[in-house]
Symmetry: C2
Subunit: 220 residues, 2 copies
């Protein structure tokens, strides 16, 4: 809407922040991007998200919205005239919410285990990670997007992790495409959309970031 | 709606199942209750929730909906003519989703830590648990319900844990009301509603269940 003041408090490498960037791009919402220093949190972040003290936070006309999937739903409800992200049917909406929640509960947690553990724990995380991707691949089926013919809520939730795959693969010494070729083909197809490509980061840069985290927190 | 076939796969002690029971009661939806044996999962549960294999699952006209907060939103969207649970304003909806998510991420996890750990870990969990309740108490303020004048989404998410408080307190040897009198007064007030009182279980029975879990899994 004209006159909206929209600011995104974010960290460039965050897959959760990237979700919000894709949603805003799909809706063609203009916004100010405000990079945060997570190791020296600024007054604005602490004021806007006093409970969790983390990014992303969308500040819309002075009011903060926190937690990426909640922000994406908010964006879909406020800027509803363009590029609907959630389906209108209640059952399909519930299914979309289920798979987006699955990405948070499984994919993110298992991906993190790959670069924070070693040995048998890391091997187990890699197996579970691939199993989770295969479930997603099965749910996608032969559709262009998870919701059907257009980019939607589950795609927005999932696609940011694609630019983290190279870090998982390099640190875990495995190849995702070998097990999940259809899911990788889907990610590559989605990257042809500008809303996705301009919101995701360079996998090599993400890898360097993860290597830095591993050194900083003694995970390596 | 007349003619709806609704079945709830549930476990009597589950705070997540109780959320669905409150929501169905608020909407006056008739349903069949199907108690599940979590240590000997039946074919119906495995068929209806093949991904997480857990309760609650709402089966509506043969179609399964999983994950309690997703089910509550589904109920609110399908039976929308009575007792709305989520506010209509997008910002207030986002705030409701934020606090319901907070209950899952903080209250449930910390409560579980109280009865699965000992010593300093348990002490830390008790402190964090009280801190989380205090944040909720602050958000409630002087309103009768979290959303305002009527029972809503955050109340449905939170209230089932009230019948678990006695187990947390007895095992952790602390008193929640001493630190959070306003929140406990709110819970007692909400219990005057039949939709809540008939959906929650006897605290002593829940305590006995948790004691059984602690023995079974060697947490005690």
């Amino acid at each position: 809407m004209a006159g909206d003041q929209v600011t995104l408090l974010d960290l460039w490498a965050s897959p959760f922040g990237m979700r919000v960037r894709i949603a805003l791009a799909e809706k063609a919402v203009k916004y100010e991007y405000s990079e945060q220093d997570l190791w020296n949190k600024g007054a604005l972040l602490l004021q806007m998200n006093p409970v969790h003290k983390r990014i992303p936070v969308l500040v819309h006309d002075g009011k903060p919205i926190c937690e990426s999937l909640i922000i994406v739903q908010y964006i879909d409800e406020v800027w509803k005239d363009k590029a609907p992200l959630l389906p209108s049917d209640p059952y399909e909406r519930a299914q979309s919410r289920f798979w987006a929640d699955f990405v948070d509960k499984k994919l993110y947690e298992l991906g993190k285990k790959i670069y924070t553990t070693k040995g048998e724990d890391q091997e187990a995380a890699k197996r579970d990670f691939i199993d989770s991707l295969k479930l997603l691949e099965g749910e996608l089926g032969d559709k262009p997007y998870f919701g059907g013919e257009t980019l939607g809520y589950v795609d927005v939730a999932l696609l940011p992790f694609y630019c983290w795959f190279y870090a998982y693969e390099t640190i875990g010494n495995f190849n995702i495409e070998a097990d999940c070729p259809k899911l990788i083909a889907y990610c590559k197809r989605c990257l042809e959309k500008e809303s996705v490509s301009k919101s995701l980061e360079d996998p090599q840069k993400v890898y360097d970031f993860v290597v830095m985290l591993r050194k900083k927190f003694n995970w390596a």
